[in-house]
């Protein structure tokens, strides 16, 4: 079977280099907002730019033909090793990144130590980093954009950190991410070196070049481990998730975790680079990865039950459901991969929505400790319902995209791993429902404690943010067909490499 990657150049599909626009819009926007940061127009400009990026991406979706397995709208510029292209999978992630950035600009929260203009310009810069990672087909560029995005998050966290625990959480974050980044970069070097050996010293990090000369034997294993673990830290994957709970609890609420785990670039990186470039190693190590993921689902779900802080609880929820994504990816099966992509988008949107709501609660109560929260449902019913709605999307209730996607993953898991692991994975969802409901129960439904703060009612902006998230989930949930159509050929293209 022909498994070579193919691409279609932008000149055949469009009159403009669209992907360059997609890449430059947030970066130039960041510069513009930074220039305007002292003026009141900066905030408005930031919101408009985020919206423009989303609309541009919607236009891009209209330009490509999702039935083709090829990467499309490709652009190359050899002197910079610039090579970008999209397919159905990357577009799902791109749309999500743009939507989440838009929601973040609407949410726009900062402590007084950072001005809104500066915040928005850093947000757009982070979006530029995310978009770059999702567009590029060059490992080195991927690593570079990853560094750019991490820098943006660290910048925000550094401006947030006021107390000792917050600084410690930041330090932990930097240590983990730097380590993960270094692993990934080392993996890139191994692959690039392999290419240089085979091609008379000509180094390349381009996916298309590397794919022609896959490393063999130990080199492939080494490359797999370095890339996989590098991405696993970023994803985060059990047991490399240690940075997330602390960052979630002590870092900038909502925005920082949304930037880090809202768009699952780790999962995307595995699909785009790890699976095609180290197929033998992937197939060999598949059972171990899946085993760890299984353990991760339950171990972190158990930890989530122990949490007394809503933000930490959500962090563990992320790690738990990310394990399910890895099971989908490493089923190496078309529907498993497709399911994982849709599930990643679903989780990203849902969990970010929940983080926003936690942020709204924090604005009112000044705490996210579960035992200090009570009876919020009476005062902010819409936010409560949105919280539960997002939670149910994570659990994969029918009517949310989580259902169709989880269904695909389970189907692939039955095919590959048999019934028992599948049941275990499905029970992971019930565990997730358990701690999410438990948290909902305590914070929103319980009787209001005597002496609890009287919280204010829902604000219009909060209606907008949660309404968009909830509406997107419901609409995609009930009309999943276009999204399945968008991702099908691309998932097939990845899975054909692993025909059993």
């Amino acid at each position: 079977m022909n498994t070579a990657l193919t691409e279609i150049f932008w000149t055949q599909q469009s009159s403009l280099p669209l992907l360059l626009l997609v890449q430059l819009l947030p970066l130039c926007g960041a510069a513009l907002v930074f220039a305007l940061r002292q003026r009141s127009t900066a905030v408005l400009a930031g919101k408009c730019l985020a919206l423009a990026e989303l609309l541009l991406l919607v236009y891009v979706v209209g330009r490509i033909d999702p039935t083709l397995p090829a990467l499309q709208l490709a652009e190359r510029f050899a002197p910079l090793a610039w090579h970008v292209a999209v397919d159905g999978i990357s577009l799902v992630f791109l749309l999500l990144a743009a939507l989440l950035t838009l929601l973040m600009t609407l949410y726009g929260m900062s402590r007084s130590r950072i001005s809104p203009g500066l915040l928005f310009s850093v947000l757009l810069l982070a979006e530029g980093g995310l978009v770059g990672m999702l567009l590029t087909l060059n490992l080195a560029w991927f690593a570079a954009f990853s560094a750019l995005e991490l820098w943006a998050v660290v910048f925000l966290l550094r401006h947030w950190a006021a107390s000792r625990v917050e600084t410690q959480a930041l330090a932990r974050f930097v240590q983990y991410q730097a380590f993960g980044w270094a692993l990934f970069a080392a993996g890139c070097v191994v692959l690039g070196w392999g290419h240089a050996e085979a091609h008379a010293g000509r180094w390349s990090f381009d996916l298309f070049d590397l794919q022609q000369t896959l490393p063999v034997g130990k080199f492939q294993t080494a490359a797999f481990y370095l890339l996989f673990y590098g991405l696993a830290v970023r994803t985060p994957l059990f047991p490399l998730h240690g940075w997330l709970p602390n960052m979630a609890q002590h870092g900038l609420i909502a925005v920082a975790p949304a930037l880090m785990v809202g768009v699952k670039v780790g999962i995307y990186g595995m699909l785009r680079f790890v699976l095609p470039l180290t197929p033998t190693a992937v197939a060999y190590w598949q059972p171990y990865v899946v085993g760890f993921a299984m353990a991760g689902i339950f171990f972190t779900a158990a930890l989530a039950f122990q949490q007394s802080d809503l933000r930490r609880l959500l962090a563990f929820a992320v790690v738990s459901h990310t394990s399910l994504l890895v099971i989908g990816v490493f089923s190496l099966h078309e529907s498993g991969i497709q399911g994982a992509v849709l599930l990643a988008a679903n989780f990203g949107l849902a969990v970010t929505g929940m983080w926003f709501i936690v942020g709204f609660v924090f604005r009112r109560t000044g705490t996210t400790e579960l035992h200090e929260l009570s009876g919020l449902f009476e005062r902010i019913p819409f936010l409560a319902i949105a919280f539960l709605g997002c939670g149910l999307a994570i659990v994969g209730m029918p009517g949310t995209p989580g259902f169709d996607a989880a269904h695909l993953v389970l189907e692939a898991a039955i095919d590959n791993f048999g019934a028992l692991p599948t049941v275990a994975a499905a029970l992971g969802n019930v565990a997730a429902a358990g701690f999410l409901l438990w948290a909902f129960q305590r914070a929103f439904l319980s009787q209001r404690q005597a002496g609890a703060v009287e919280v204010e009612h829902t604000q219009p902006m909060e209606y907008v943010v949660c309404g968009i998230a909830l509406l997107a989930l419901l609409v995609i949930g009930f009309f999943a067909e276009p999204w399945l159509h968008l991702t099908e050929a691309a998932s097939q293209a990845i899975a054909t490499r692993f025909v059993r």
């Binding site: 389970l410 019934a419 049941v423 029970l427 019930v430 439904l445 399945l484």
Partner: protein, 485 residues
Amino acid sequence: MKLPLLSLLIFLPLATAALLWLLPARLTRHLVAAGMLLNLLLATWILFVFVPTGEPFQFVERAVWIAGLNVQYFVAVDGLSVLFLPATTLLFLGSLVASWNSIEENRRLHYSLLLMLQSATLGIFCALDTLLFFVFWEATLLPIYFLLGRWGATVDAGRVAARYFLIMLAGGIPLLLAFILLAASQPAPTFDLSLLLAADLPRSTQYAVFLLLLLGFGLKVPFVPLHTWLPQFALAAPGSLTALLVGLKIGAFGLVRFTIPLAPLAAQDLHWLLAGLGTLALLYGAVGMLAQSNLRVGLAYASICHVGLAVLGLSAFTAQAAQGAISLLLSFAVATGGAFILLEFLRQRIGSTDINSLGGAAKTMPLLASGFLICGLAGVGMPGTSSFPGEFMLIIATLHSHTGAGLAALFALSIAAGGFLSLYRKAFFGQVTRPEVAQAEDLRPREWLVLVALIAMVAGIGIYPGPWIEIVRPAAEAWAAGLGR
């Protein structure tokens, strides 16, 4: 052009719910009542247009829903399900009346959730695509969770609601697995029930499907020992909600609709399992009822007992058994549902349905007491009530197929009758000792109307069961023929 009657029926409640938020809040209850009445009329109309001897599936509507997964929006009714539509709409109307004055705050939300639940329940009875069915099945959880958690009758209602939600979510896993397994067993994966019923599955697949579906539906039925959520639920939930959950036996309906016909060989090999679970539930429910002091919990145990009889009867796999089971389930919708609604009236007056805080209630509330007696007697299968024909057919079928279990069933039913009468005597007869009981007011006109409707149905169907049973008969015969007997 033909009207899509079933879709109208299923989505009318949702449309009503949406309308609630557009109109002034003071109109909420009346709007809900109008919507539910309209739906009842629609369901009755469907029942009249339905031809029992005609095509097996009528009012068919098909549309592609998710082409990539080959999931269809496929709804239709047959003789097994058509009677559940008016029963459901009627019970929801009763539930509305029962909660008419007790919902003070967030009325719109409460009734929107109730209407969502109605849509989902009607969908369960109409869906013939297994995945669509599953979607409706899971869609009942959210409204129930909220209705119980937010408007529960006890302090720990939230905890009970979460527990119910989780148990049912876990119960969804075997169902989904079975449906995926069934779909994958076909040359082209499909969730279309009419295709799946026609397919010949290997025996091993049938075993897996049967056991998975039995587990999934068994939680909802509930079978002993999967029943622990039900008494808790009955205690924590307002009667208006319990009436819907206990009255509409969607678990047992799932057994009739999916579990047995989809895996006929396995069902017949494992007939002892089905019969055994039925007998166990029968005996356990009857004995458990004796130990209760709360009328609502007592009724919950009675319902475990009776649904056990339906399952036991089904394990005979004859047309008569299926006919009996469906009529019994329908009768419960009216009788048990009605009894829970009356208990909700009682709870709103006294603040409790525990026999220790009642006593002599028949003196001050004769209408309520007599209504409850009639519903309760129907619940224990008294001749002349709506349950009797179904119960009779089931007992006959069981005595033929599983004689010992049939005898045990007779024994258990008499215990249950005794248990009910004993509870009834303590609650409604004797001296009035409590001031709440002494001051209680009998049924108001609105409540009285519900009572009359209930009694008319219980007695009417009981005395002249012919037409109702005839609606079910052809479908039940087809059902038994499909099992190869």
